[in-house]
Amino acid sequence: MLFVGGVAGFAMRLGSGLEDRGPWGYYAAVFGFLFTVGQAAPMVSFVPRLARARWHGPLTRASQVVAVAGLLNVLLFLPLLWLVPSNAERVTVWFNWPWGAPHFFDTIFVLMLVVNGFAFLWVQAIPDLAALRVQSGGTHRLARLLSGSFIGTPKQWKVQRIGLAVLGGCYVMNFIFVQSLISLDYVMTLVPGWKSSMFPAFYSINGLLAATATTIVVLALIRRFYGLQRYITVDQFWNIAKIMLALNLAWAYHWWADFLTTWYGRVPRETVVTLGMRSFGENTWLFVIAFICCFVLPLLILMWNPWRKSVAGPTVVAVLSLIGIFIQRIIDYVPTYLVTQDPLDHELHEAIAIPWPGLPDVLIIVGGLAGAIFLITWAVKALGPLSNWEMQECMLLRRNEKFLNAEVPYVIKPQ
């Protein structure tokens, strides 16, 4: 229902045409947020696996399943192609590239990241789909189609493990690159005179923070609504909270590096954007909320061991971080799309205040989020809330043994 409302909001917005990108700011912000959140989360399952940490089993599905929101991201991305000018009409990293820049190549990038996310999810889910195929006697069509004839031979396991490593590596490389490119082509180069080497990095850091935050939120919801308290323990929340805290600090550091350079340099074309529009000036209140949600409160909560080593602490911080990132995306996109000056001008004449969203914007925001949640919920139902084979593997390779007078967990890490 909410998603249908979002489609109605999109139709209303479309009624005002694609010539003027000003009214599309909130739409672009929704895309920016969902593209950050939906495409980032799968990385969380890759990194602990690469480090051979044995606590990641229960969170693998929660992080990878978010990749299905990529379907919505592709749809949301398409109208943006009509909204932003070609590289000839602004200063971009594409210089004077004669054709397809940025629209064609960016579309390929976005599609590639989405396909990579799906492939990563599929390879990870093959053994579980194979089990489903066998248990259903071959009648489960989706499982039969996607698991082929996987029967769990040593070679198949080996290929699956290496496939996951390669696809995961590709995913991280693609994600950082695509996020940087989107931040340049769909945000920064639309504003005359805004040249910041920190902004693409800051944009990507938002993505990494969103990866951990989204995974924690999905994990907490799965744990709560599927009653999986026995399998999803505080271990997963505790370990991932440490990474999230580091990313909260990195978020603040990247903002500070951008802010300090601009503030100290006092170059008007930089200060009007970074200080006047993005951090303080016209939009101070929004920035302060983002700063509190992405840095101050996470630091104050996660710095305490009992809060960090709990389910509630990291979940609250994850929700706060997602709110902060959403507001950050509004700051990134909405004023940028309201700029009416020629992007080739030397500088922006005055900072732009972010207006309250209109009815179509509210419908698009709610509908976009509802659509992503619907897709993720469907995927969790189709594939299951936990990766069974990975749970089994983690249990196989972890034993509690006596060490002197204490009982400690032994983790086997095969070479």
Binding site: G148, S149, P154, C170, N388
Partner: protein, 170 residues
């Protein structure tokens, strides 16, 4: 060729059965272990076999890079129009497109590699039992003749297999 499947409730019994198979003259390549979860390589003394998955992303990346290079350098050198005194080859956009080509090639070929190397789909009808997905361990012995299949069946039964199935006897 006949094949024999022994089903074991625990991994320990299956590992002991694999040892007995080897003692009965079967080599590490003559049998295959079927499990519902990945065990460390060689846990059952089996030969997990070679794979060529690494070649796929590497080959794909090289093809993608070559296509990226052709699209960028090729087009610009084919129509060498000097714009505003800038070099014919613009390195930053070339880098982006070549990177895109490289990653796209690696990605597509990795997916193909997983499908090919895992033999998905496999058209042969191998012996299998649904209990393997519930934690049982299966040992499939590929035999040259019926006599060898009988030996394998006896060995697996004596090793504690809960059930032994045969397929492909003449």
């Amino acid at each position: 060729m006949p094949s024999v499947l022994g089903l074991f409730q625990s991994a320990d019994t299956a590992a002991a059965a694999a040892d007995r198979l080897q003692a009965s003259g079967f080599g590490p390549t003559d049998y295959e272990v079927l499990t519902g979860a990945p065990y460390p390589e060689g846990a059952f003394g089996e030969d997990s076999g070679d794979h060529r998955l690494f070649i796929f992303p590497l080959g794909g990346a090289m093809i993608g890079f070559a296509v990226g290079l052709m699209v960028t350098a090729g087009t610009q050198l084919s129509y060498p129009l000097v714009t505003a005194g800038k070099p014919i080859l613009g390195i930053p956009p070339m880098f982006i497109i070549m990177y895109e080509g490289t990653m796209l090639g690696a990605l597509i070929f990795t997916i193909m590699g997983v499908i090919f190397e895992s033999r998905l789909p496999n058209l042969t009808n191998d012996l299998y039992d649904s209990r393997i997905t519930e934690g049982y361990v299966g040992l499939v012995v590929r035999c040259e003749d019926d006599a060898q299949a009988d030996t394998a069946q006896t060995t697996l039964t004596e090793a504690g297999a809960e059930e032994v199935k045969q397929q492909g006897r003449s």
